[in-house]
């Protein structure tokens, strides 16, 4: 029976760690953090870890690969925001400030693992390998989604909040039924945790003991609504115990901690220990989207305070201090981020526009008689317009 499998998994893993199942499921007393705001490693005893919640330092190679993506991610965010300001892109929900979460989400996964991103997670989507211009299709307003989810194992960037968590559960369930060891990482924001689908997704994943990591980027706001009006739980990670799964919270601006926490979560999930909930504390540095005016609901001082915690400067200091980041590697990384930015700019210049006939082409696998009639109506109109030109 499914349920026994879930229960046993939790009991086994917690006894392996020498703690009670409840202690395993409840998050560690404080968030996990490894780098301080200056990029210095916290002493081991002050990283938030505790028995059963232990986190090793990732390898230098993993840290360097992640740093490269972090730099690219920041560049992508700022390039896209600029393109929007210039009116060359329709809309872009920036993850500026959240890039450490974005990068860790992509890099913790293996090639056959799936990711379920939201509108804000373009950087994660690219970090998992989706070609930048395919991501831009929707932000340019050409079509709702521009890449093949199957090719990249990256689902469409979800707009209806939280709905995608259930799709993630289904993908994991299908894989498990076929005996595949696919792990699925499903992303959502702090606001999205209030939707009913959040509850249903976590419960389904737990009951069917599925390898799904629910990764909440708690960036403190849902558009204008601060976390404190979204939830009064001790933390969002505390929700896990109510489903019989483990929850953990982590400094979302600390790429080292994120890689460690998500990396362990993926390993646990892949080993059959069921789903996990990871809450990352971060901050949305810019407005919700270009259409939003954040000055209406938050003080600039609050934003300024988060600049000090910027994930990029912390990581750069750490890597430089550790002797991992050299002038050459920094230059190489900058160059690769500029190359991505150029791809984005160039892509926006191409004048390709969508073909109106495509309106009818993909509603079903084969257009119905009704749709074919409607396609003819439109084609006819367009032909007459051409004629009168």
């Amino acid at each position: 029976m499914t349920n026994n499998e879930s229960r046993e998994a939790i009991e086994q893993v917690s006894s392996k760690f020498g703690i009670t199942p409840e202690d395993y499921m409840l998050p560690a007393r404080t968030e996990i953090h490894m780098l301080d705001v200056n990029g210095k490693l916290h002493p081991a005893g002050e990283q938030g870890a505790e028995p059963g919640h232990e986190y090793p330092l990732p390898s230098p190679a993993a840290l360097m690969a992640a740093y490269e993506q972090l730099v690219i991610g920041r560049r992508v965010n700022d390039q896209n925001s600029a393109l929007v300001r210039q009116g060359r892109m329709a809309v872009y929900p920036s993850s500026h400030g959240q890039e450490a979460c974005q990068v860790a989400a992509a890099l913790c996964l293996g090639e056959n693992d799936w990711m379920f991103p939201t509108y804000r997670d373009s950087v994660a989507v690219m970090a998992k390998g989706v070609a930048p211009m395919e991501v831009m299709t929707s932000f340019r307003g050409d079509w709702h989604s521009g890449y093949d989810p199957n090719q990249y194992k990256v689902s469409v960037q979800a707009t209806p909040l939280t709905t995608q968590l259930l799709h993630a559960v289904g993908v994991a369930h299908a894989a498990k039924l076929r005996g595949e060891d696919t792990v699925v990482l499903a992303m959502c924001g702090d606001g999205a945790t209030s939707e009913g689908d959040f509850h249903e997704a976590l419960n389904f994943a737990a009951v069917f003991n599925l390898p799904v990591i629910f990764f909440v980027q708690n960036n403190q706001y849902a558009i204008s609504v601060p976390l404190s009006q979204q939830s009064v739980a001790p933390s969002l990670a505390h929700k896990a115990v109510g489903y019989g799964m483990a929850g953990e919270r982590v400094d979302g601006n600390d790429l080292v901690a994120l890689l460690s926490v998500l990396g362990r979560a993926v390993r646990l999930a892949r080993d059959g220990n069921g789903p996990l909930l990871v809450e990352a504390h971060t901050y949305r540095m810019q407005a919700h989207t270009n259409a939003d005016d954040a000055t209406r609901y938050r003080e600039d001082a609050e934003v300024q305070a988060w600049i000090a915690k910027d994930p990029l400067t912390r990581m750069r200091s750490y890597l430089a201090d550790a002797g991992l980041l050299t002038e050459e590697s920094e230059a190489r990384i900058t160059a690769s981020s500029e190359a991505v930015a150029k791809t984005l700019r160039d892509g926006m210049n191409s004048e390709e526009t969508p073909d109106p006939a495509e309106l009818f082409a993909y509603v079903f696998s084969t257009p119905t008689t009704q749709l074919t009639e409607q396609a003819h109506l439109l084609a006819d109109e367009l032909a007459r317009e051409e004629d009168t030109k």
């Binding site: 499914t2 709905t163 559960v169 289904g170 498990k176 003991n209 696998s365 119905t368």
Partner: protein, 366 residues
């Protein structure tokens, strides 16, 4: 739960599954009295036997076999990986089915009753209907949402809604509703085979109706494509000449009864069973109305902004010059579905249909 899923098709050499399959096949051989429910159950079993990616899940569909027993025996035969109960959450069921379809499965899910599909409305309208289109066909969603619907069983509140309009109005969903035992089998097989998502509306008052049917022969006919597809095809349930009754699902039998009654009064009515609401069969329906010149559309759902409205609108758009009278509707009233003791007043009745037919301005012919 075992880590791997074993196809139970005989080719796979799974002995006990093979025996079960043979037993099932021989039990279904020959013309027999078969209920609508049994036809659906057999369609599910046949599809699951043929294709290990076909899964069945929902509330109480496992050991219990569903509150209407449509999934009876499937867990026993195919294992609890192939037919299973979920936690009680309809959005969860539909959402998980979406993910499974994204990852190679062909899920069939049951919503316990019509009104209990509403919690899943966002998943249905914003994802089931749109995933294929949103990804330019790269992410098709072959899944079937089975919904027992409509009244006639003295059900309490929320158990008798005719909710087909909500789905039919949502581009990207196919909407089928069988009215005969044979169609129950064939249309469900077609729905499961469809590369597109299908909302499969099962008129619950028909579950216990019987017909003489050879399910084994139907299976063979379906699998060898020896029967014409029902998708997008209405059926002429009764040929006639004087006026056309257009009905679907639970209303087809009422329309047929009305036609019988009218025949006694000397009026020869044609009855069309729409079967496939999306895609819609304009051809068959308009051919009939052009021939008869008169039409009444019958459906249980409240008439306002309903499938019946659509049929009226299409028929008058396409057959205007053949019409001797306006196209009329006999539908449920624009009220919530009433309590059991009042449902007989709410549902389209033979008399109400005959009244509508009577008012199709026959006098002007004379």
């Amino acid at each position: 739960m075992s880590p791997t899923i074993s196809t139970s098709s005989p080719a796979n050499g799974n002995v006990s599954a093979e025996t079960a399959a043979q037993a099932a096949r021989s039990a279904n051989t020959g013309v027999q009295s078969v209920t609508f429910a049994k036809a659906l159950n057999t369609a599910l079993a046949d599809a699951m036997e043929l294709d290990s990616s076909v899964l069945m899940f929902g509330e109480d569909v496992g050991v219990l076999g569903g509150v209407f027993r449509i999934t009876d025996g499937l867990t026993k035969r195919f294992g609890s990986d192939r037919c299973f109960d979920t936690p009680l959450a309809e959005s969860g069921i539909v959402g998980m089915a979406i993910g499974m379809a994204m990852n190679g499965m062909r899920p069939v899910i049951e919503m316990q009753f019509d009104a209990f599909a509403y919690p899943a409305f966002e998943q249905i309208a914003s994802h089931v209907a749109k995933m294929h289109n949103r990804t330019k066909g790269k992410m098709p969603l072959p899944l079937v949402i089975r919904i027992p619907y409509a009244g006639g069983i003295g059900g309490v509140e929320h158990h008798c809604d005719s909710s087909e309009a909500y789905y039919a109005h949502t581009p990207g969903l196919k909407v089928f509703t069988p009215a005969t035992v044979k169609d129950a089998y064939l249309m469900l097989r077609e729905a499961i085979d469809s590369p597109d998502p299908v909302v499969f509306m099962e008129p619950k008052k028909l579950y216990w109706t019987k017909e003489q049917v050879d399910l084994g022969a139907l299976r063979l006919a379906h699998e060898t494509a020896a029967v014409p597809p029902t998708e997008g095809k209405a059926a002429i349930a009764r040929p006639g000449t004087d006026a056309t009754l257009i009905a679907y699902g639970p209303s087809v039998s009422t329309a047929l009864a009305a036609a019988e009654a009218a025949a006694l009064e000397g009026r020869n009515l044609e009855v069309i069973d729409v079967r496939s609401i999306v895609p819609f069969d304009d051809e068959t329906i308009c051919a009939s109305v052009r021939k008869t010149g008169r039409a009444v559309v019958i459906a249980e759902a409240p008439g306002f902004v309903s499938v019946a409205s659509e049929i009226v609108a299409r028929v008058q758009e396409r057959c205007f010059h053949s019409l001797a009278a306006p196209v009329l509707r006999v539908t449920g009233f624009d009220t919530p579905f009433p309590a059991p003791k009042l449902e007989k007043y709410f549902l389209p009745s033979v008399d109400r249909i005959l009244d509508a037919v009577d008012s199709l301005q026959w006098e002007e012919e004379a």
